[in-house]
């Protein structure tokens, strides 16, 4: 449905995206991960026809971006990073404009717009000025604009930015419900978000593709080193002594955070997981028994969520190490 072949985009002297090849199957949700400035937005703008690539070719829904940009645009719904809203229009007026531009037949326009507003949860603000809405609502109005006209391809740049937790959950549900009917390319820097909505993940850094896999495979690859956060009633010395008995701990950090009176917090780096995935559970059990036998009550033990920054650092350093090894 979306095919990028050796796509590159240069701004002045700087390449924002380089040699990017990937494809998205019909009905698939592809997640685009990367830090700020990695070239996510640029790539998405190329796919939407907002800007042409400097090199390479882009085909969306069978249309080449350079051959027929207008036809390509008619098949792509785009939610940019900043929702592109005309503040002086009502939400309904705004969506009717988009519907007219997308050539939704006149007699179906109102019903179609009403239906899209219903789906995106903005029916209650239909007659309010779009510029006066909260960030979360603006984001959903932008999402509605992308959906108007039922384009087969949706490109969503950070669709949950600026939303509160409940809205984020609703947005993810909406995106999941759109999968299958639409082909979706979405970007995010939140790993769990991508894991919960996408079939496949693409990680880019400095304009280049770093990794491309399913979220499960990716976390398996990256989950090599897991971390635990431990809060225990007792002194640091006692905890250190107890943990010394447990095998499978690669390192201990002592974050100096204001804990409760008489408790100690430790962050443990665990040894790489065996491929069967059992080791992590074993370490936790071993920690439990070691501390229990010494009379150190565990107040809290949880896995630390790995932020994209960690994943990223890991991937990028791996890359750097590999290229250094080759050199």
């Amino acid at each position: 449905m979306i095919q990028l072949v050796q796509v590159g985009k240069r701004f002045g002297q700087r390449w924002a995206v380089q040699d990017l090849t990937c494809s998205v199957e019909p009905g698939e949700v592809l997640g685009f991960l990367g830090p700020n400035g990695a070239g996510k937005s640029t790539t998405m703008r190329i796919v939407t026809g907002y800007m042409p690539p400097t090199t390479g070719s882009v085909r969306v829904a069978g249309v080449d971006a350079l051959d027929d940009p207008v036809r390509l645009k008619s098949r792509v719904g785009y939610l940019p990073e900043t929702p592109p809203i005309y503040g002086e229009m009502t939400v309904r007026g705004y969506l009717l404009f988009v519907a007219e531009m997308r050539r939704v037949p006149r007699h179906r326009r109102r019903r179609h717009v009403d239906e899209v507003m219903e789906r995106t949860g903005i029916a209650d603000v239909a007659d309010r000025l779009a510029g006066r809405l909260s960030r979360g609502y603006k984001q959903r109005v932008g999402m509605a604009a992308a959906l108007v006209g039922e384009p087969p391809v949706l490109v969503l740049d950070e669709p949950t930015a600026g939303m509160d937790p409940r809205q984020i959950i609703e947005m993810r549900q909406l995106i999941r419900s759109l999968a299958g009917r639409h082909t979706i390319l979405l970007s995010s820097h939140i790993l769990p978000e991508v894991a919960s909505t996408c079939h496949r993940v693409l990680i880019i850094n400095k304009g280049r593709l770093v990794a491309q896999d399913t979220p499960d495979n990716l976390s398996a690859r990256l989950g090599g080193r897991r971390q635990l956060r431990l809060e225990v009633r007792g002194s640091r010395q006692a905890l250190e002594a107890a943990l010394a008995e447990v095998s499978g701990i690669a390192g201990i950090r002592w974050p100096s955070e204001p804990g409760h009176e008489g408790t100690t917090v430790a962050e443990l780096d665990l040894d790489p997981v065996a491929t069967d995935g059992q080791a992590a559970g074993d370490v936790r059990e071993a920690i439990f028994f070691a501390l229990a036998s010494r009379g150190l009550p565990i107040l809290e033990m949880r896995s630390l969520d790995r932020s994209l920054e960690d994943v990223f650092l890991e991937l990028v350093t791996h890359e750097d190490l590999e290229s250094a090894a080759k050199a």
Binding site: F11, G12, R45, T48, G49, Y50, M51, P52, P69, V70, R71, K73, S74, V76, Y78, P80, T82, P83, P84, I85, Y86, G87, E88, M89, G93, F97, V98, E100, M101, R102, R103, A145
Partner: protein, 235 residues
């Protein structure tokens, strides 16, 4: 279709913006003042002196009307919507231009009170009045195209407005070169003088070369706007 949708949206957005009303008020207030003072001073039922002063008002008002046209889209990120909807840059520019032209035509239509007043007082010849209005539409249309063009060059409405003002002023005084020089430069300057051509319209003359001049000036400026709009996404 796309042009019409953009035209409608743009015109509606003008009609809810204080800027359009402020520009309208300034235009009509100064127009009314010129008209009344000239009428009272000369006691002649003639619109020509009024139209000869129209340039000053347009110099002031057109940058205000057009500075937001394309610059604001960039500023508020709505260009990302507009440029990813199925429409060409040409359709966007033409739709936007026609909207601001319609607004200006509306303001000009309100000045029809003056000839109506003259007909009530006296019986001036209709020819020069009609031709003056045609000329005013072409002259204003050219200035508005200048404004749309300068608005396509920058994200800043201020810069767009200032450039527009500067270009119009330059078009006004360019024929001074004709006095300062001789030869091809002087000839070219005389050709470019937008107000000299307008003068003929106020005399009751609709010269097809003048019409062609204004229409081609508008076409060239809009073409340049399209190119500038396309080029910004290429960089």
């Amino acid at each position: 279709m796309a042009v019409f949708a953009i035209f409608k949206r743009e015109l509606k957005s003008y009609l809810v913006s204080p800027l359009a009303y402020a520009a309208g008020v300034v235009f009509l207030a100064i127009s009314g003042y010129f008209f009344s003072v000239i009428l009272l001073a000369t006691r002649v039922a003639d619109l020509r002196p009024y139209f000869l002063n129209l340039g000053v008002i347009l110099l002031l008002v057109t940058p205000l009307l057009t500075m937001r046209s394309l610059a604001e889209e960039r500023q508020s990120h709505t260009d990302e919507l507009l440029m990813t909807l199925p429409a060409t840059a040409a359709q966007i520019v033409v739709g936007k231009y026609l909207a601001v032209l319609a607004l200006y035509a509306g303001m000009l239509a309100l000045t029809a009170v003056y000839p109506a007043l003259l007909y009530w007082l006296s019986d001036p010849p209709a020819g020069p009045i009609v031709s003056s209005y045609v000329g005013a539409l072409l002259l204003g249309g050219t200035f508005l195209a200048v404004g749309v063009f300068t608005s396509s060059l920058t994200d800043s409405q201020m810069v767009a407005g200032l450039l527009c003002f500067g270009l119009i002023l330059l078009m006004w005084v360019i024929n001074w070169l004709a006095f300062a020089m001789t030869g091809p430069i002087a000839d070219a300057a005389r050709q470019l003088a937008v107000f000299e051509r307008f003068d003929d319209f106020t005399k009751g003359l609709i010269d097809s070369t003048h019409v062609l001049f204004y229409v081609s000036a508008i076409a060239i400026l809009l073409f340049l706007s399209v190119r500038s709009l396309e080029r910004r996404t290429w960089m």
